[in-house]
């Protein structure tokens, strides 16, 4: 690994500090239903719930951010995000179908609150379909991938509406809640271990291919001429990004904008080299998602809790528009 430039080192330190601050904020801040804001180290029950929330947000945020970096390199498009390939709609479709099956077969709903398995299966399955259809001459082709992803997302969307229509009333509300993303305070240890491992391994693989991703920013022929095997690289990027996205969606539902904004934020601070970018984006994603969760702790509407996806959209939406207009979005 090459030595880090001073700017990059400082940038990483900065990000680490920001992550630390958000973690501390999440552990200390609480606004209860009657509106009283507390800022204190409290009893163990609440603290373990908050700590679980921190870990969920960290794992989901890092997974989405790294997945975003990989996809932006794969598709050679800085506006690519983890959901462009249909993973989140596939997950949502699987979740709604399982809800429907359970309700129509009158099976005891003992997966309440645990949409993990169907979401994971749905995301991976959809990505498999996109993989099969997005090839050109046997290798993945960026343009085909995007087109197939868009079509698959649209089809999934229609099917989701169909099944949502058929759900009984309570489950309808549950689905809508899930689709806006939830940082669950009750996630089990096994869920955290599995998704955490996936996030770590995926990030490590992304780091390993950092230089290859740099080389992939050149045109197809030129990249090949400097020694890059573009076909296998694209496959690796696709699979790793897909698994990371699936893990994040399974854990926290489809939370938008993190996978798009975190890589860009990291690029602003650390520059475009992918090795450093993977680490930086992961940190930025963690900070972004924990920060959004802190916001959902502080801001409550009519006494209830807003889903975290609302806050990532509130931050991410304007940021996305700024990106487009500032020309950074143009490759």
């Amino acid at each position: 690994m090459r030595p880090l430039a001073k700017r990059q080192f400082l940038g990483l330190c900065c990000l680490v500090v920001i992550v630390g601050l958000t973690v501390i904020a999440r552990l200390l801040v609480y606004r209860d239903i009657s509106g009283v804001l507390t800022w204190e180290w409290t009893g163990s029950d609440a603290m373990s719930l908050r700590w679980t929330a921190v870990r969920v947000a960290a794992i989901a945020g890092a997974s989405l951010a790294v997945s975003g970096v990989l996809l932006q390199a794969l598709l050679r498009n800085p506006l690519a995000s983890p959901y462009i390939l249909g993973a989140s709609s596939g997950a949502a479709l699987a979740v709604v179908m399982v809800m429907y099956l359970q309700s129509s077969l009158a099976i005891t709903w003992n997966l309440r609150g645990m949409d993990t398995m169907p979401a994971a299966v749905g995301a991976v399955g959809t990505l498999g379909v996109v993989y099969l259809l997005g090839q050109k001459r046997g290798w993945l082709d960026p343009i085909s991938l995007v087109l197939v992803g868009v079509v698959v997302t649209a089809i999934c969307g229609a099917l989701i509406m169909f099944f949502h229509h058929l759900l009984p009333h309570g489950l309808k509300a549950d689905l809508v809640t899930w689709m806006m993303g939830i940082i669950r305070q009750g996630a089990s240890t096994s869920e955290l271990i599995i998704t955490g491992s996936i996030a770590l391994i995926g990030s490590a693989i992304a780091l390993f291919f950092g230089r290859a991703m740099d080389a992939a920013t050149l045109g197809d022929d030129e990249a090949r001429s400097i020694g890059l095997s573009l076909g296998p690289l694209r496959l690796v990027l696709f699979v790793v990004a897909g698994i990371l996205t699936s893990a994040a969606v399974a854990l926290a539902g489809p939370i938008g904008f993190v996978g798009l904004i975190a890589p860009h934020a990291a690029r602003l601070i650390l520059g475009p080299k992918h090795t450093v970018l993977v680490v930086g984006a992961a940190l930025a994603g963690i900070a972004l998602l924990i920060g959004a969760d802190v916001a959902s702790q502080i801001i409550s509407v009519q006494g209830g809790r807003m889903p975290v996806g609302v806050f990532t959209a509130l931050i991410g939406g304007p940021a996305f528009i700024w990106l487009l207009r500032s020309g950074r979005g143009r490759s």
Partner: protein, 334 residues
């Protein structure tokens, strides 16, 4: 059939005397007569089959009871109609009206009305729930034109809303002083008396403390105040553990903070009430709250719990049962 007609035509051409009587030669006439019975029988069958749904008269105003043709766009209203023995009068329903057999056609729902089908069904009354802006103007115009009577209700959230909705049904369907109106009002009174009995029987033997009504675990989705289940709870003598109004999401930490002494999980699907509440409760069952420590956790798995309609009467019974059980189990967990 072709040959039959050909025969007939042939006969017609050859066999009619100027005075209209038929003549034919021997056996051809016999065959024709036999076939004529087939035709007549066929026509009779068609008439019966085709006319099954036809009501020759269309009622233009409330009051001519035997010709009621009701379209309901709201599952809650449909359910009330069924419980008031008006099921046969329903000719059209919304997609979500699952209280009815599926052969009753769907005419859309609150967001999208299938006007063609609506017109085909020739309703007399249309019952629906609408938002603050009221019914779709197109529907109102059509109703004006065709003489349909429209009954509209806005939100049906509380128990009082439900009662109001049900009591208004006879006003929409019948003339104020008519016999049918009286009969229906009586039925409604009977239903509500039944509810009263349930709510007030053996009051002292029930849990009368706060209860958290939960329908999703993480985040914790609750039935807050001013919802019909909460109203039932309060009418049964207990209280709602949370102060939020309406349907809200809370975090597990919020529940921990709230420390409710009892929790009821409103299950969605199964009518099998032998569901283990702890399995369903998941992370909620691991919090250090009074409800967990005293094991006051129960599952209400009545599908009527989700319909703000006359079905809540049976839900009230189950709720009462649960509160009764809560009163028994004040043994702290070891």
């Amino acid at each position: 059939m072709t040959s039959l007609f050909q025969d007939g035509m042939k006969c017609h051409y050859h066999g009619y005397r100027p005075n209209g009587t038929i003549y034919t030669m021997g056996e051809i006439r016999l065959i024709r007569l036999r076939h004529l019975w087939v035709i007549l029988l066929y026509m009779a069958v068609m008439a019966i089959v085709g006319c099954r749904n036809d009501d020759p008269e269309v009622v233009n105003s409330a009051g001519t009871a035997s010709q009621l043709r009701i379209v309901s766009f709201s599952p809650a209203i449909t359910r009330a109609l069924v419980d008031l023995d008006l099921e046969e009068k329903i000719v059209g329903r919304s997609t979500f009206c699952t209280s009815l057999p599926t052969d009753i056609p769907v005419v859309g729902d609150l967001l999208q009305i299938n006007y063609e089908r609506l017109l085909e069904l020739q309703p007399t009354h249309i019952l629906m729930q609408t938002s603050r802006e009221g019914a779709d103007t197109r529907l109102l115009e059509l109703a004006e034109q065709k003489g349909w009577k429209i009954g509209q209700w806005s939100r049906i959230n509380t128990l009082a809303d439900i009662e109001r909705m049900v009591r208004a049904i006879p006003d929409v369907l019948y003339e104020q002083e008519s016999g049918e109106h009286h009969r229906m009002s009586d039925k409604i009174d009977t239903l509500w008396r039944r509810l009263d009995r349930i709510l007030h029987a053996e009051a002292s033997d029930r849990w009368q403390g706060p209860v958290l009504l939960v329908h999703h675990i993480d985040p914790v989705a609750v039935f807050g105040r001013e919802t019909y289940l909460s109203d039932l709870l309060i009418a049964l003598g207990a209280s709602n553990a949370t102060e939020v109004t309406g349907w809200q999401n809370l975090s597990l930490e919020d529940v921990s903070h709230l420390n409710p002494p009892a929790v009821i999980i409103i299950a969605e699907t199964s009518e099998d009430s032998s569901v283990d509440p702890w399995e369903l409760a998941g992370p909620l069952g691991k919090l250090k709250i009074e409800a967990v420590q005293t094991r006051r956790f129960a599952v209400l798995s009545n599908p009527d719990a989700w319909l703000p309609s006359t079905g809540v009467i049976s839900v009230a019974e189950e709720l009462r049962e649960i509160l009764h059980q809560f009163n028994q189990s004040t043994i702290p967990e070891q």
